[in-house]
Amino acid sequence: MPATEKELAETIRRISGVDTRKCMKCGKCSGTCPAFGEMDIHPHKFVSMVEKGEIDELMQSKSLWTCLSCFACVERCPRNVEPARLIEAVRLAVIRRQGENYLKADQIPELLDEKLPQQAITSAFRKYSK
């Protein structure tokens, strides 16, 4: 039986270690996010939607693939909520499912160019594939 949204929300809390109740909804995380313009659901919404248990919608979000893991939201949150950890946890909840990898090895050759550092491939794989 597939996990209920309530169970999923519990999983996200466990994987991320984030206490969403600490959020005071100041919006600084989204205000400082360098990928803000490329996101459908913004970092502050991740916090409130996990709090409300609306995980199915988060798992469909394109923000999972545009978050840069730059830690600006983590650094600047006045309540130490660490929204990036929530985004990572939801991303993992997606790619840990069979067949749900966002980046597949056979896509790599066409993405390469001569100067691309190995670091780019390794980090993208770590973020987008299991």
Binding site: S16, P34, W65, L68, V74, P117, Q119, Y128
Partner: protein
């Protein structure tokens, strides 16, 4: 002065200059960097998930290896530094991760984050000292207007990285002064270059890199320096903005020390 040294994968391939100049400059400063005998890729991004142990093990192995050699561990790539330093923090502070990593590795002496991890720039600041470095410069880079590009990985989260002030850092500007050049401050020096998103969303990374380059040029920078091969790629190869030359900071250090 001797350190264990973790170069990382990219410094053995696309970023050989970052490594080679770094080693040469260290030698000129009387510092011995001993590459760890067997190291594995750090994974390039810090695994934030509390339930991921396997992806942290390569960092733990490097940290244990340095401890067993009795050395502090010097890193050079920003990403490796970020990953290894944060995993070390987990081994100190997260009992669950520490217990599971130790259960898996079955070390003779369990590891609890004893190794001190410092980035090459911290070594210059805190071990050599920028005043001492200045004295050893034989070829001061006079008249060069250089923008420091910090990026994300060295600075954030500052609670864990403890590298410098995350919003108003000075270490790279101080380095630029020490090698005789003029640092140029610009507002986007600690903004993200686009990072790994460059692989799947090229235009997003391009936008990020362009803003940084434009910001640096507006303030009068004529070149940028970085400690990260992925930042180098995004700023140098992937940007569409009018180009500024981008160098690894170790190249300028080697130049100033006369060992380039």
């Amino acid at each position: 002065m001797k350190f264990s040294y973790y170069p990382g994968c990219t410094l053995k391939t696309k970023a050989k200059d970052l490594d080679a100049y770094g080693r040469r400059a260290a030698e000129a400063l009387g510092i011995t960097l001993e590459e760890l005998p067997e190291w594995q890729c750090c994974g390039a991004v810090y695994p934030m998930a509390k339930d991921e142990i396997a992806t942290k093990l390569s960092s733990v192995r490097a940290l244990v290896s340095a401890r067993d050699l009795g050395n502090d561990l010097v890193t050079l790539c920003s990403a490796c530094h970020h990953v290894i330093k944060r995993v070390n923090g987990d081994m100190q502070n997260d009992e669950n991760i520490r217990t599971k990593a130790n259960n898996y590795l079955q070390l003779e002496t369990p590891y609890a984050g004893e190794t001190k991890v410092i980035h090459y720039l911290e070594m210059l600041r805190d071990v050599v000292g920028f005043d001492e470095l200045k004295k050893k410069v034989v070829n001061p880079l006079k008249g060069r207007k250089i923008g420091a590009y910090y990026g994300c990985m060295l600075l954030r989260p500052s609670k864990e990285m403890q590298f410098d002030n995350p919003e108003n850092p000075t270490i790279i500007e101080d380095f630029i002064k020490a090698i005789g050049a003029t640092p140029v401050l610009y507002p986007f020096r600690n903004e993200c270059c686009g990072g790994y998103v460059t692989l799947s969303k090229k235009e997003l990374a391009q936008k990020k890199a362009d803003v940084i380059l434009e910001s640096a040029m507006e303030q009068g920078a004529e070149e940028l320096i970085t400690a990260c091969p992925l930042c180098m790629y995004n700023l140098d190869a992937n940007s569409t903005a009018h180009k500024l030359p981008v160098h690894y900071f170790t190249e300028l250090l080697a130049e100033a020390l006369g060992v380039k």
